[in-house]
């Protein structure tokens, strides 16, 4: 059951941090693409875990250890159901998206050969570029880049031309973190599969706004971080198709990931534990599960509708400011507005907004190639969440106007 409208007063009451002041002003938090805020049900789940059930998992015979294991595995099950993975063991709990991408890239080191090719997009976060560059250095594989258009979308004709039998892995974000554009991943996955290449989708910026169905997408790997969807930091997930997870070697060695250890030979544990060396972030996993429950109680249809309204409202008002340009202003995007004002540095605008209690992100957003493309030092990025209000958007726009008039 999805609500069609959100009870914002009720929702905001779930987020204690939204009641605080910053620089003497009520906080207006519009940096949700960097990290989302944490609602009480998630905070309570973490706190309850430590108060009642804290123990190491998968090992102990005692009651607490069993309880903690059950909680952690229940969270994995929630994540599986949410993303519609075929099996719970296809969900690897990682420290976040960056860890998940490194795990996969590292695994391909034993599969790739010199002359193989990888395809990345020009819109990627550095976390979805650098691990693959490191892989190329190790294996001699070649990194090809899908170029972007002036609108901020991917040049799909160029992508089609890049795909060949030499292509082994394609990795693209579902939604660009710097611009908010939703990429045509379905087409990318189909095209890559036609030549037998694997596809990894970085979903860190998509999962706060929509629910990807990994089976319907037929994606090989999908990653996200819990803190983008109202969960805690330091926990995230890697979805991998079972056949791929079996093919990849373990990433880190240690406890939890082993079957038998002798000094002659160690055999590895079965999925998912093969990729979960050491004591995991148990409380984080529990919080991740609680966050998914919370988001689903609100309902993703209602979330998407409300955020879209906020973004439309903000776009309409912002574009009335003289010299303001929104980057990646296409219809198919999530609630992110990345902009600059002619002649002004994004850092100056961000600093003045902060003095007014408004949190936005400024800089290159870990996407220097995009900034180089537009030949700008960075942008101001306002990213909206379901708990933001129209009044906040109005105050944000007034704040930008005030900052611009001070700086000009």
């Amino acid at each position: 059951m999805y609500n069609t409208t959100l009870d914002l007063a009720q929702i905001r009451a779930d987020f204690p941090i939204l009641q605080r002041k910053v620089n003497g002003q009520p906080l207006i938090y519009l940096d949700n693409a960097a990290t989302s805020q944490t609602p009480l049900p998630v905070i309570n789940a973490i706190s309850d875990y430590y108060k009642h059930s804290n123990a190491n998992i998968h090992r102990g015979v005692h009651a607490l250890s069993q309880e903690a294991t059950d909680l952690f595995e229940a969270a994995r099950k929630k994540i599986q159901n949410h993303f519609n993975a075929a099996a719970a063991h296809e969900i690897i709990l990682t420290s976040g998206t960056t860890h998940a991408i490194n795990l996969v890239a590292n695994g391909f080191a034993s599969i790739l050969e010199k002359g193989d090719e990888l395809i990345v997009s020009a819109l990627e976060h550095h976390a979805n570029i650098v691990p693959w560059q490191m892989l190329c250095e190790r294996t001699g594989a070649k990194l090809n880049v899908i170029p972007m258009t002036d609108e901020g979308t991917l040049d799909m004709e160029a992508f089609d031309a890049l795909v060949s039998i030499r292509t082994k892995v394609v990795f693209v974000n579902h939604v660009s973190n710097a611009l908010g554009i939703i990429n045509p991943i379905k087409h990318i996955i189909e095209k890559a599969h036609a030549v037998g290449a694997a596809v990894l989708i970085d979903g860190a910026q998509a999962t706060p706004h929509l629910v990807p169905d990994v089976q319907a997408l037929d994606v090989d790997f999908y990653t996200t971080s819990a803190h983008k969807i109202c969960g805690p930091t330091g926990i995230g997930m890697l979805y991998g198709k079972e056949e791929w997870l079996r093919k990849l070697p373990p990433y880190q060695g240690g406890g939890e990931m082993i079957d038998q250890v002798t000094f002659e030979k160690t055999t590895y544990a079965d999925l998912p534990h093969k990729f979960e060396a050491g004591t995991p972030n148990i409380a984080g996993g529990v919080g991740f599960g609680a966050a998914i429950d919370y988001m689903n109680t609100i309902g993703f249809d209602a979330i998407a509708a409300h955020e879209y309204n906020l973004m439309q409202h903000a776009s309409e008002k912002l574009t009335q400011i003289e010299g303001l340009r929104i980057y990646g202003n296409v219809p198919h995007k999530v609630a992110v507005i990345s902009f600059n004002v002619e002649g002004l540095h994004p850092y100056d605008i961000g600093t003045l907004l902060d003095k007014m209690g408004i949190a936005v992100r400024t800089g290159h957003h870990c996407c220097q190639p995009i900034m180089d493309f537009y030949q700008i030092p960075g942008t101001v990025r306002a990213s909206f969440a379901f708990y933001n209000t129209h009044e906040e958007v109005d105050q944000f726009v007034t704040g930008v106007e005030k900052a611009v008039s001070m700086l000009r």
């Binding site: 002004l344 540095h345 003095k355 400024t362 030092p377 700086l407």
Partner: protein
């Protein structure tokens, strides 16, 4: 004017303002009136690392004093470096090295002093002092 006198003068100017907006407007004004660095010096060698905006600083010795010039692509950063230049330029290297920077706190810009702050005020002060160390060695 000595470094301490320059600092006292700036503190007195900022004391006239009631709120953050006036303080920032004044900083923006200082930034706009900063004498620009010669474009020859706006190279990567002169960039101060650790700032979200670009900051270039050039230093030269005139007799026994250091003259600083600087520029930034962000106006608030330029205002901050303008304040630092007013305090530290045309001073003897040993005085620059001995000076403290508590006045930053007094003019209500304490938040910029955090080492993690993206504008790199700490990096700017460090860079000015590095020049002072270099020229101090030359003088002795």
């Amino acid at each position: 004017m000595s470094i301490a006198e320059q600092q006292a003068e700036i503190v007195a100017e900022f004391a006239l303002f009631d709120d953050w907006m006036q303080r920032y407007e004044y900083m923006i004004e200082l930034g706009k009136s900063l004498p620009l660095i010669a474009s020859d010096y706006k190279t990567d060698d002169h960039i101060i690392k650790g700032c979200q905006s670009k900051v270039w600083v050039h230093a030269e010795l005139e007799k026994d004093k250091i003259l600083f010039t600087a520029d930034s692509d962000a106006i608030i950063t330029k205002g901050i470096i303008a304040i630092l230049i007013r305090v530290f330029s045309n001073q003897h290297p040993k005085d620059i090295l001995a000076a403290d920077t508590a006045f930053i706190d007094e003019i209500g810009l304490k938040e910029h002093l955090s080492p993690t702050r993206a504008n790199g005020l700490v990096s700017m002060i460090k860079q000015l002092k590095m020049y002072a160390i270099a020229y101090q060695t030359q003088l002795t």
